[in-house]
Subunit: 175 residues, 2 copies
């Protein structure tokens, strides 16, 4: 079980980055994302993706992020450019339930103390979207590419040129 | 030599995602990003990052994106969810100069024809930031972690708790 906790989301400013965080979480094997605060825009965008593309990824809006960390049944890893090398952390935690904590705006210093690991995906200014992707890539040993999204109405057939898309005809209600 | 071509950037809407694309490009080994259109906000943000964190990554604003693709001295790869598996493409192009093309809004269909490869980082709705990171991770065989950013005024020392930062005292003019 993989989950993401998105801290410090500011609805207007962060909606697109937080949506990208959720898309990456879903595409690379997480089951859910806890979003601190409320943002219908992000939640609805992701619900539409799951409806069309399958799987059961969902967003849960929460207020008490400390409770989410403290009550997590497994390992907690905070992605930050100041942490330990992420690949070393992955080696220690792989196979466990993992809650991955990702900040948007400044992260409260308590987070660094509350979590099991602070993990750094490189030591340069980066992107939390990329950091999550690289962490999940290593954590799943690259197996995210083979995930099966049950109930998908749309599937893509890889192609060197153009777009090949398979649509579930049953889902085309009214057509 | 690795470069990124960012297509379809809409200044207000895309400024944060495009900034993340540029940060990932810089942190993972690209030398420059061509930005189609003009966005001082993104350019200045990245200039400040390079000034403080070193290296010589830069953004070049262009209008004629077709010219950039046609005149590129090396391989061109368009990242799209509709393409061939990215790891197979990387195996074929590694070691060459590569121009990585990344769309924001809808990509003109000509792009699919003009490039050498259309490469897909998974076949699920994803993030171009994550796609770029995973492509560069494979293309550099993970060596982006060892990049040296010359002239850095700030460096981070990985740490399990808290923040350890080294600042170049010479740069603290006026303190």
């Amino acid at each position: 079980m993989i989950a993401v906790l998105r801290l410090g989301h500011r609805p207007e400013r962060d909606k697109r980055i937080t949506t990208h965080v959720a898309l990456v979480a879903r595409a690379m094997g997480a089951s859910l994302m806890y979003l601190v605060g409320e943002d219908r825009n992000v939640v609805e965008t992701i619900e539409k993706v799951t409806e069309n593309w399958g799987g059961d990824f969902r967003i849960i809006c929460v207020n008490d992020w400390k409770k989410v960390i403290k009550e997590w049944d497994g390992i907690t890893v905070h992605l930050t450019m100041y942490g330990e090398d992420f690949e070393e952390v992955v080696e220690r935690v792989r196979g466990n339930n993992v809650l991955i904590i990702i900040g948007a705006s400044k992260v409260p210093s308590e987070v660094y103390e509350l979590v099991d690991y602070n993990a750094s995906v490189g030591t340069q200014p980066h992107s939390e979207v990329a950091a999550l992707a690289l962490f999940l890539d290593r954590f799943t040993s690259g197996r995210w590419k083979k995930l099966d999204f049950k109930g998908a109405k749309i599937r893509i057939i890889p192609s060197p040129r153009g777009k090949r898309v398979v649509r579930d005809e049953d889902s085309r209600s009214g057509i």
